[in-house]
């Protein structure tokens, strides 16, 4: 007996000093039937095949359409072509709201969100680049001079009206303006092509196969990224920051699509609907729903007999949605009302969903936030 104990101790000691690294690695388990009530891998497959990839493909198509309309505009910069170019931009920007939240894997490694939609855009920097003709859009310091917000300026912000704007594309410096617009578009095209092809040619399988439960597993990372997007980009970026709730005074210049001035609320709503659809596992452009965070919560709840969290979250998102639908475009809300009471009230409803996701959902799913020792207190 003592020998056994001695051996056991030595083995423990050796293990103690060597085995910790496995925590970071994935424990690969064979794909066998398990008795758990919910299959995380089914949810990952639904996310990848029915939501993420179709959304990317659709966005990529809308981006192509935007580039085509630019090519027409390039040949003849008239009012009709400007209007068409603009509406293609609105289309693509709206479609972007459905992929902006997926900052994971390929998108994360190219910094997709940061390269496509940093606002407020730096219009002075853009003016300077156009005059100089020398710039490197791949530099991270130039993120505020490209992407959708830069196009917003180039399409809507160069002059007071269409005639003035068109003046730039038909004036002495027209080549420079067209060149810069084209470079911004090509940069977006390249980034999007990388992300879409990475997803379809390999990352999809990696993503789906990583169905464990550590801080590096797909579900845990996706949930973290999802909540991060909701809190930081949707709630704060599109509403809170321009409203001034973090600064004490309103910042209308920080509204998304500031120069356009009319679509910011629509963009927000598209983003909110996308977030809710993802929560419910709704297939892209369809009413079919698959395994999702909502069905996962329901499965866990059937064991726990707790409150119906998925319904509560959906109710809250619906309330937020209807409050925002009653608002005008955000720039007008902020500039015309002092203080912007209605928008602040709508913001509060958006805000209320954050603790539900961040506290109740994460806690119910036991999602790992970070790899640090913690003994649960």
């Amino acid at each position: 007996m003592k020998k056994i104990i001695g051996t056991l101790c030595m083995m423990t000691l050796v293990w103690a000093c060597s085995s910790d690294s496995t925590t970071d690695d994935e424990v690969i388990i064979p794909d066998e039937k398990e008795e758990v009530s919910f299959e995380r891998s089914a949810m990952l497959i639904n996310w990848a095949d029915n939501i993420i990839i179709p959304s990317y493909v659709a966005f990529s198509g809308d981006l192509e359409a935007l580039i085509n309309s630019f090519n027409t505009f390039k040949v003849d910069a008239n009012e009709g072509n400007l209007t068409a170019f603009r509406s293609a931009w609105i289309n693509a920007y709206t479609s972007w709201q459905r992929v902006e939240m997926f900052e994971i894997g390929p998108a994360e490694s190219v910094g997709f969100q940061l390269n496509m939609n940093i606002y407020p855009t730096d219009n002075e920097k853009i003016d300077g680049f156009i005059v100089d003709g020398s710039y490197d859009l791949s530099l991270s310091s130039n993120r505020s001079a490209k992407g959708f917000p830069a196009l917003d300026y180039l399409l809507n912000g160069l002059g007071e009206n269409d005639a003035e704007i068109l003046g730039f594309y038909n004036g002495d410096n027209k080549e420079a303006y067209l060149k810069y617009t084209e470079d911004v578009l090509l940069d977006m095209q390249t980034l999007t092509a990388t992300v879409v092809s990475d997803w379809t040619t390999g990352y999809r399988d990696t993503f789906v196969a990583n169905d464990g439960s550590s801080s590096t597993a797909s579900v845990d990372r996706m949930v973290n990224d999802y909540i991060f997007y909701f809190e930081k980009y949707l709630r704060a970026g599109k509403m809170g920051i321009p409203l001034g709730v973090f600064s004490g005074s309103t910042l209308p210049r920080n509204v998304e699509a500031y120069f356009d001035a009319s679509i910011s609320n629509d963009l927000f709503l598209e983003g909110l609907v996308a977030v809710q659809d993802f929560f419910n596992g709704k297939h892209f452009n369809s009413t079919t729903e698959g395994e999702s965070l909502a069905s996962y919560l329901d499965a866990l709840n059937s064991v726990k007999n707790g409150e119906d969290l998925s319904t509560l979250i959906n109710d809250q998102m619906n309330t937020a949605k209807s409050m925002v639908m009653d608002l005008s475009a955000f720039r007008a809300e902020i500039e015309d009302n002092i203080p912007p009471t209605n928008m602040l009230l709508a913001y509060d409803e958006v805000q209320k969903a954050v603790p539900m996701l961040k506290v109740d959902m994460v806690s119910a799913m036991s999602i790992s936030i970070d790899f640090v020792d913690a003994d649960g207190d």
Binding site: M1, K2, I5, G6, L8, C9, T12, L13, W15, A16, C17, D20, T23, V27, I29, E34, E35, V36, S37, R40, D211, S213, A217, A236, G240, G244, V245, F246, S247, G248, L300, V303, K304, G306, E307, L309, L312, Q351, V354, P355, M356, K358, V359, D360, V362, S363, A364, M365, S366, I367, S368, I369, D370, F371, V372, D373, A374, D375, G376, D377
Partner: protein, 455 residues
């Protein structure tokens, strides 16, 4: 009574168990430090953050910038010297001080096992653990003793037993026993554990784990004490801690407990280990078999030592019960929660959004917590009232320095406990800037809406 004192305190016993304990403890601590460093946690936890949460009364203990690395080097070297038994007294004092300093730097990283290490190393200052199989004893025969008074070994057993038994007591509550909470939340998410993963979603498994966990903690010290049950009890210790290691991110704690439990074994077992070790290291260990019995040279030192140790253990017995002095649910208010062996006892998380109001202009805004604290700090802060208060004071100072006048700090804080839906945790109408930290009850904590029965 006399005979009890003689047997458990005065009677000479072999020094071997103490020596084995010293060696293994020192090595474990050394590797803990190396592990901590290798994960980059020194940088991540003590150098990157701009703000650190202090224990009440220990606000002066802060990380030392890049010199924090030096602190860890000192702590690691001291651990190694403890293992070698070289200048033991000095080494263990330095280890105790440096380790405790590290733990006091930021209470975000509070772990019961770190507290355990601090207590254990404090206790070891008073033990002649270098009396045999140490460099001290090897170099100086005057310091070499084959026998020591039995209280030295027994005090380690007592401390371990307190840890287990109190951890068991803490589990005797309705959430743990009747609802299998929080294991009902934690276990299903570990479905990818080899072999047992598939079972963890089963309700009966969750109850079985809860009940056997409580039973294990309450009884294991006794089973380890009796010679007949000891080997089986030790197998249980290994199984239990390996299981917790596999399921939960509790770092070195399981190993520390497994190794510590060896102290319960007979001296002959430890002597074998030491013999094997001497053979392996090719050290002549006949020197250590000198038949000498360790004795205190002055009765005054010995009396002082005893007084300190009695006070130490009295505090250990009483301190975990201090929560009884506070109104409200312990798990909710956490007043008297720490330093009481409440390990892996609840699933609690929160969300705290702070609102800064300029009392003069009436202007207000919310705080972006990521501007000031790390995600890990934010997570820990959001459900612990003392963290929330300290952070609120920090925010008040920060924004008053920024030029705001008469800053008021309010918080919208939602907390979920053991699967209950999150509810308001802190009175949102209270200006936290005006509240002072103390050991008194914080009456601005919203009372718990449910009831948890038990200890």
């Amino acid at each position: 009574m006399e005979s009890v004192i003689n047997k458990y305190i005065k009677a000479p016993v072999e020094t071997a168990p103490l020596a084995v304990f010293r060696i293994l403890f020192g090595l474990m601590m050394f590797f803990s430090i190396v592990r901590f460093w290798s994960y980059g946690w020194i940088d991540k936890l003590y150098i990157q953050p701009k703000f650190f949460f202090s224990y009440f009364g220990f606000e002066w203990v802060k990380p030392l910038g890049v010199y924090t690395y030096l602190l860890f080097i000192i702590c690691g070297l001291a651990a190694l010297l403890v293992a070698l038994g070289y200048r033991y007294k000095l080494s263990i004092v330095i280890f105790f001080l440096s380790f405790t300093y590290i733990e006091l730097m930021d209470k975000t990283t509070y772990l019961n096992h770190y507290y355990f290490i601090s207590l254990l190393s404090f206790l070891m200052i008073f033990l002649p653990a270098n009396a045999t199989y140490s460099i001290d004893a090897y170099l100086n025969p005057k310091k070499s003793f084959e026998y020591v008074p039995s209280w030295t070994v027994n005090s380690i057993m007592l401390l371990l037993s307190i840890v287990y038994f109190y951890a068991g007591l803490a589990k005797l509550n309705s959430d743990w026993l009747l609802k299998a909470m929080p294991l009902k939340i934690w276990l299903p998410s570990k479905f990818d554990t080899p072999f047992i993963g598939g079972l963890l979603g089963e309700e009966w498994v969750q109850y079985a784990f809860s009940w056997s966990g409580a039973l294990y903690d309450l009884t294991i010290p006794f089973f380890l004490l009796f010679k007949k049950t000891r080997p089986y009890a030790f197998v249980m210790v290994v199984v239990f801690h390996v299981l917790t290691r596999v399921l939960f991110p509790i770092g070195m704690f399981p190993y520390v407990m497994i190794i510590s439990a060896l102290i319960f074994f007979d001296a002959s077992f430890h002597e074998k280990i030491l013999k094997y070790l001497s053979k392996f290291l090719k050290v002549d260990d006949t020197k250590f078999n000198n038949q000498k019995v360790y004795q205190h040279f002055s009765t005054i030192t010995s009396k002082m030592k005893m007084t300190v140790l009695i006070a130490f253990f009295a505090i250990q017995f009483i301190f975990p019960f201090r929560y009884l002095l506070y109104p409200g649910e312990l798990f909710w208010t956490e007043e008297g929660y720490r330093f009481s062996w409440r390990v892996m006892l609840m699933e609690k998380s929160g969300y705290a959004q702070f609102k800064i109001v300029d009392g003069e202009s009436g202007r207000w805004f919310y705080v972006d917590n990521t501007d000031f604290i790390t995600p890990f700090q934010e997570k820990q802060m959001a459900f612990q009232p003392d963290f929330i208060l300290e952070y609120a004071h920090f925010l008040k100072n920060h924004f008053e320095k920024d030029g705001h006048k008469n800053v008021q700090v309010f918080v919208d804080c939602q907390v979920s406990l053991n699967g209950r839906l999150s509810t308001t945790y802190i009175d949102p109408t209270i200006d936290l800037g005006k509240q002072r930290e103390s050991f008194l009850h914080k009456n601005w904590i919203t009372p718990f809406k449910d009831e948890i029965k038990g200890i």
